[in-house]
């Protein structure tokens, strides 16, 4: 089938066959129509014969009657030749039609009947105005010769009637078969429309270039004309009309086939409506309207919001003025319009205010650092939507930057951890061998002094590495915080106990002030101890011997404030901000051991637990203030 649809010869054959089948189907249909009209589908042939004979008989009767008046009642007698032909035509040798024409009185005025055996009789009545204007009734008794010895219409009719009667079901069958074949061929031709032997894709031909609606309209108009012609022809049921009708029907069927195939080709190509005049006209107007609208839109989009507002206000004012002028002297009308106008305006203004409020909330959240907040722009309009989207983009960009930052910080921590891990292995060897060297029986003097430096500095290096790892972890929040309810007083007592001896050996006196009641905070005890450890360690290292150290615990407005106070041994000519920076130490000479990370670590750890660490320097008085929220 696929191959056949591409074959040109097959297509031509199909078109020819289609024409033939259409002719056969239409001819058959007309035939069946005639046959059913003339009772051919009755059980016997007699009824059909009677019907057809009646038609012929009436025709003969008409001729007889009107010719009679033309010939015999006419003042101008026709020629003898004419009369002879008339009489010859109706002589029993030439016709099987037999008649008696009777006048009003029942006298036979004309006859060719001489007592032959007959098979069919009819009587017709005619009215004729005579010279005086009165009506006269004539009667024609018609008969058909039983033997049909003459070869006239009856004889040929008899022959056709018998043939058609015996063939009636064959004709029906042929018609049906032709119909089916015609439909199949039509389908096949639809499939093959647009196909060519040498091409895979659908190829349109010349007909397909005609605008489809014009093509379709043309075929339809021709159809209407053809139907009209049929209508007039159908009453003249002669053989010629049947042939003309059949040919016309066939030609029209071909035309319709072309239309169908053209439609099929266009449909297969897609967008069959594109090549129509109507579509082109619509498209033309659509384009004009679209251009107008898009230029208005462009204009509206590209004027500033101020001009938009001005336009809207001017429009509103103009509308109001118009209404006032229109309803002048009709106060109740004006009031009504005023009322409905406000009814519309108030929700609009409220709506605008709600949007502004939403935007404000969003910007406030973003400003306060909630970068995950998104303004819900789904129900916003105009400039508000744009603004909301801008805000969202800002917060998105910022949270992306923060994420990026976090990632790089984590990477840094990992790097520091890994590097310090690698440093630790050689450092272990150094510490061990320095220690071994120190155990050797060294001569006093420079060598012993040098080894002493090595011992001191290698242990400092060890501390520095540990602090570095911890500082980087604490500052990037890479530490797991297990916050539990912690009694801060107990922790303070524990820390004081831990440092009691070191303080005493540094000639420092610790004075603790804490309230009687138990004060609880949410903190990770271990991390908080590390903070206290660092701070106490600093106090021991940097305090002036012989002074007092204060460790105060106060509860102020739902906050617990812990203050470490001590007197610095060296003058503190450095700001508290600088002290909190990494690697900055109170003694600029850096003579004491320490990494300079202690305070920085303490601050990070306190912040990780949700607290605050501040420094205060007042002359030689050094204060560290910790603040936490209390819990019950």
């Amino acid at each position: 089938m696929n191959k056949l649809t591409h074959n040109f010869a097959a297509k031509v054959t199909a078109v020819l066959l289609f024409t033939i089948t259409v002719i056969m189907a239409i001819g058959g249909l007309i035939g069946i129509y005639y046959m059913s009209e003339h009772y051919f589908f009755e059980p016997t042939v007699d009824r059909a014969r009677e019907d057809i004979f009646e038609g012929i008989t009436r025709r003969y009767a008409n001729i007889v009657f009107y010719e009679y008046f033309d010939i015999y009642q006419n003042d101008d007698m026709p020629s003898a030749e004419y009369i002879r032909r008339y009489e010859e035509y109706f002589s029993p040798a030439n016709t099987n039609f037999l008649f008696n024409l009777k006048n009003e009185k029942g006298e036979i005025v004309l006859s060719n009947y001489s007592g032959q055996e007959i098979q069919f009789s009819r009587t017709y009545y005619y009215e004729q105005h005579n010279d005086g204007g009165a009506k006269e009734t004539y009667t024609i008794e018609c008969f058909v010769n039983k033997t049909l010895s003459a070869s006239d219409s009856y004889a040929s009719a008899e022959y056709w009637i018998n043939t058609a009667y015996s063939m009636r079901y064959v004709i029906v069958a042929v018609t049906i078969i032709s119909f089916i074949a015609c439909i199949l061929l039509y389908v096949f031709l639809m499939c093959s429309a647009g196909r060519r032997t040498d091409r895979d894709q659908i190829t349109p031909n010349g007909l397909d270039k005609i605008p489809f609606d014009i093509f379709f309209g043309g075929v339809m108009i021709i159809g209407i004309i053809v139907l009209d012609v049929f209508d007039t022809l159908l009453y003249r049921n002669t053989a010629e009309t049947i042939i003309i009708i059949t040919i016309m029907a066939a030609v029209y069927a071909l035309l319709f086939l072309m239309l169908s195939m053209s439609f099929a080709t266009r449909y297969k190509l897609g967008g069959w409506w594109r090549n129509t005049v109507i579509y082109r006209i619509f498209r033309f107007f659509y384009r004009i309207v679209y251009k107008i609208f898009s230029s208005i839109k462009y204009l509206l989009q590209h004027i500033s919001i101020i001009w938009k507002a001005v336009l809207a206000l001017v429009g509103l004012a103009a509308a109001e003025l118009f209404i006032i002028l229109l309803t002048a002297y009709r106060l109740e009308m004006q009031l009504l319009i005023w009322f409905f106008g406000k009814l519309l305006l108030v929700p609009l203004i409220l709506f605008i205010i709600i949007q502004m409020e939403k935007l404000q909330t969003g910007s406030q959240k973003i400003a306060s650092g909630d970068l995950d907040y998104r303004v819900d722009t789904r129900r916003m309009f105009w400039e508000f939507k744009k603004h909301g989207e801008n805000l969202n983009n800002i917060s998105l960009g910022m949270s992306r930057a923060v994420d990026e930052r976090m990632k790089s910080e984590r990477f840094k921590t990992e790097l520091i951890t890994n590097v310090s891990h690698d440093i630790k292995t050689p450092l272990t060897s150094i510490i061990n061998y320095v220690d071994l060297l120190n155990r050797e029986d060294l001569p006093d003097g420079t060598i012993k002094e040098y080894v002493g430096v090595l011992v001191r500095q290698s242990s400092r290096l060890k501390k520095l590495i540990d602090d570095l790892v911890e500082a980087s972890k604490a500052s990037t929040g890479n530490i797991v915080v297990n916050s539990t309810r912690t009694e801060i007083g107990v922790l303070l007592t524990q820390a004081a106990g831990e440092y009691e001896e070191r303080l005493r050996s540094n000639e420092l006196e610790l004075i603790q002030n804490q309230p009687e009641e138990e004060v609880y905070i949410m903190a990770d005890g271990r991390l908080l101890w590390r903070v206290f450890d660092n701070l106490m360690n600093n106090i021991c290292k940097y305090s002036q011997p012989g002074t007092r150290v204060y460790l105060d615990l106060e509860k102020v407005n739902g906050e617990v404030v812990i203050t470490f106070k001590n007197i610095s041994r060296n003058p503190l000519n450095i700001s508290s901000e600088e002290l909190l920076e990494r690697f900055v130490r109170g003694d600029s000479a850096r003579s004491t051991e320490g990494s300079g990370l202690g305070l920085s670590i303490a601050k990070s750890l306190v912040e990780l637990q949700g607290g605050k660490l501040d420094l205060a320097i007042d002359g030689d008085l050094f204060k560290v203030i910790l603040k936490f929220k209390t819990v019950r």
């Binding site: 891990h421 630790k424 060897s429 510490i431 220690d435 009691e500």
Partner: protein, 232 residues
Amino acid sequence: MYNVLICDDEKDIVSALKIYLSSENYNTYEAYTGRQAIEIIKNNDIHLILLDIMMPEMDGITAMVKIREEYNIPIILLTAKSEDTDKVLGLNIGADDYITKPFNPMEVLARVKSQLRRYMHLGGGKVKTGRITIGGIELDDKSKTVTLDGEPVSLTPKEYEILKLLMEHPGQVFSPRDIYKRVWQEAPYGSESTVAVHIRHLREKLEINPAEPRYLKVVWGQGYKIEQGEEV
């Protein structure tokens, strides 16, 4: 003469440890990978292993799992990993103790000595009446004496009372106030720091590294407790 196996891929560290251990009259064996360590343990009578975690061929953790399948020898992990999770993993898998790098040689010696004493002398863990044993600490309430890994520890009466209180309730946290009330038998009135000082002294006497105690633990912000020792 005890046989100690030192296993570390860093040759310098092995030699240094060897010098220290030899000076304390230990017989040493050296291995540089986990595989070598297992070989040596099979062919020799080893009493203690110092095992590094990060080693080529077979790491310390894998080697330890293999060793623990057959032997009950004390294992001390040497590790540059100071992460808490690593320590917990090592101890859970079967280490008796751990030392983080860079280590103090004296601490290594002390821990080796402690493990060996417990392994060689107190391995049976005999239970005697009137005695409380937690890890290497043994408290005899009749003679009011305390021994650590079999060696006597001299404690003051208050220190002894505190230790007894904690050892009688292993795992339970006592606040400084509770301890003061129970030991001094009077109201504290701000004297809780005395308890903290005593605990500090106790830790110095009982722990090899008081900053990282094995038994006498500080629960910061809550109190103190004693635990069965980390090798549990």
